[in-house]
């Protein structure tokens, strides 16, 4: 078990299973087929870490998001529709697109949330693996167990 502490972008507490990408997460490329999938799976052919893996309900561990500026909008819609990852855990400082998605969901959604924590450090991403049990606390603490 290892414990990490990051900065809270959108507050929340939960437990979920980790899914990990070491490369930038391209939100549009990854999630654009979620509207026809029964559960959101990654369809980004350029991301071997995540391609075809389940994202919905998972603790998505990533360095940052990249790509299209539809990113925040897709994340917001995914949260509102119950198709989003359970939480976003960033090793680095969050990027502007993911931050938009997290803030939009936080401000404009009363019922559905997507806790988001950044600045967990490179060590977090080096350590965490697919399938690890992730516990997120409201103060930005992230516990990784396997």
């Amino acid at each position: 078990m290892k414990e990490f502490k990051g900065r809270v972008i959108a507050k929340g507490a939960l437990t979920a299973e980790a899914v990990v990408t070491k490369q930038g997460f391209n939100t549009l490329a990854s999630m654009q087929m979620m509207f026809i999938q029964s559960k959101t799976k990654c369809v980004d052919q350029s991301n071997p870490d995540l391609y075809k893996k389940l994202l919905q309900g998972k603790a998505l561990c990533l360095p940052q998001t990249i790509g299209s500026t539809t990113g925040g909008m897709f994340l917001y819609s995914a949260v509102k529709s119950g198709k989003a990852p359970a939480c976003l855990l960033f090793a680095k400082e969050i990027d502007s697109l993911a931050a938009a998605g997290a803030v939009l969901a936080d401000v404009w959604s009363d019922d559905a949330k997507m806790p988001t924590i950044d600045k967990l450090g490179d060590e977090f991403l080096d350590y965490v693996q697919d399938g690890d049990k992730i516990t997120v606390k409201e103060d930005g603490t992230v516990i990784v167990e396997r």
Binding site: I9, G24, N26, L28, A29, Q32, M33, M34, F35, I36, V43, Q45, S46, P63, Q64, T65, I66, G67, S68, T69, T70, G71, G72, M73, F74, Y76, S77, K80, S81, I94, D95, S96, L97, A99, A100, G101, V103, L104, D106, V107, W108
Partner: protein, 423 residues
């Protein structure tokens, strides 16, 4: 964040609950990046990334309806990314039927855009900054735009200032009339974290060079040395077209919002290497590195050996000169091969403004004779139809490759495939 009295009053709800939430979103978003104040949007027009009525994006359209109902409209007119659908682009009946379902909210959304502040019916393009469209910011303008390829162009080639805003956030900035001051709006945020040393033996393919740099620097700012050997030191139409495609690849294969080209782009010309941060990383690019990057692109077609069913060029939208140049190239290649028309259904995408200008030239009839279709759509959104997933579509756009299952070929390879080989 320090707000003015007016901004604080809006946040406190004195002008209504919905505009207060718009304000709260901008404040909370800015505070994530340490913004200490809001600054006025000074560009004449906004630009929105969402142009498609994707059924799944219902929550966005509900939010926009709330804005309209509460009178929270954009304070400036805006242009918008291209539409997703055009009956002239070839597809099967079932693909058309699915597209109608996938983009089932298109009519509702276009009505919303008009109500929110769309400039006019010709405003649907990702290349809003071209002369034919007229949303061309001045150096130093503060913008509230989204669309990664347009933002990186406005920052890098035009010297305007804009963060890589997400969809929705960019509209909120145009409604409020100000944006949080951080990142690429600041002098410090525009300094380069990377030096890219170009050591190729010829002018690199803009799409592959941009891809290599994007994947390496992610969201950092690169300062590229050596490209002026090929592009010169003046922003000619040719250089700007190259940078349009180069920038789109940096922004989609990575998350670049600003690049500097030594001795060419405005801030690099004015400030030179003073723009480079102390201790900047160095990335050397030679022929072998570009080959390595290109060979790393996966092909996820269902049948990897299939003959292409469709070819898309123009993501971002093509310029007038690109349409003319391709007309010449295709005619010459067809003649050489003894063919009259392209061997694969081929679609060139461009703005309606450029299409109208192109129609005035003799090139339009020549291109049509060669069998090429010119359309105003966004090929990326067109392919967001699940029935196009894994289908044999080819492109020389690295942006389109990134977001769809289209297979990437260089411009030279594309020309050969569509005029001579057919596969």
């Amino acid at each position: 964040m320090q707000l003015t009295k007016e901004q604080q009053a809006i946040l406190n709800g004195e002008k209504g609950e919905t505009i207060a939430k718009v304000m709260r979103t901008l404040v909370q978003y800015g505070e994530v990046f340490g913004a200490e104040k809001m600054v006025p949007v000074t560009g004449d027009y906004g630009h929105l990334v969402l142009s498609f009525g994707l059924t799944f994006l219902g929550p966005v359209f509900d939010l926009y309806q709330k804005l309209i109902d509460e009178g929270c409209l954009s304070g400036q007119k805006f242009t918008c990314d291209p539409r997703p659908y055009d009956k002239n682009v070839p597809q099967s009946l079932i693909q058309k039927a699915v597209a109608k379902f996938v983009f089932g909210k298109q009519s509702r959304y276009e009505k919303q855009l008009s109500q929110l502040g769309l400039l006019d019916e010709d405003s649907y393009t990702c290349t809003c900054y071209l002369d034919e469209i007229g949303n061309t910011p001045k150096a130093g303008d503060v913008l509230s735009w989204a669309e990664s390829s347009a933002v990186v162009y406005a920052n890098s080639v035009l010297g305007a200032r804009c963060n890589r805003n997400s969809g929705i956030i960019e509209l909120f900035g145009s409604i409020a009339g100000f944006v949080p001051y951080f990142g690429l709006l600041t002098d410090e945020g525009r300094k380069a974290d990377w030096i890219v040393e170009l050591k190729t033996t010829k002018c690199p393919d803009a799409q592959i060079l941009g891809s290599a740099i994007g994947m390496k620097v992610m969201e950092d700012v690169p300062y590229v040395k050596g490209l002026d050997r090929y592009l010169g030191t003046e922003l000619t139409d040719e250089a700007k077209t190259y940078l349009k495609d180069f920038g789109a690849a940096t922004a989609s294969n990575g998350a670049v919002g600003l690049y500097h080209i030594d001795r060419l782009t405005p801030e690099a010309k004015a400030q030179g290497e003073a723009l480079i941060k102390e201790g900047a990383n160095v990335y050397v690019i030679d022929d072998a590195e570009l080959e390595r990057v290109k060979n790393g692109y996966p092909c996820v077609w269902k049948n990897k050996d299939a003959a292409p069913k469709l070819c898309f060029l123009g993501c971002p939208h093509m310029t007038l000169q690109q349409l003319k140049d391709w007309t010449d190239k295709i005619e010459a290649a067809l003649k050489e091969a003894g063919n009259e028309k392209v061997l694969i259904p081929t679609v060139f995408t461009t703005s309606t403004g450029v299409m109208k200008e192109f129609e005035k030239t003799p090139y339009a009839a020549r291109l049509k004779r060669a069998g090429v279709i010119v359309s105003y759509i966004c090929p990326l959104m067109f392919m967001d139809n699940p029935l196009w997933q894994g289908q044999p579509v080819i492109t020389s756009s690295n942006k389109l490759r990134t977001y769809t299952t289209a297979r990437f070929y260089s411009n030279d390879e594309i020309l050969r495939i569509i005029t001579k080989e057919g596969k």
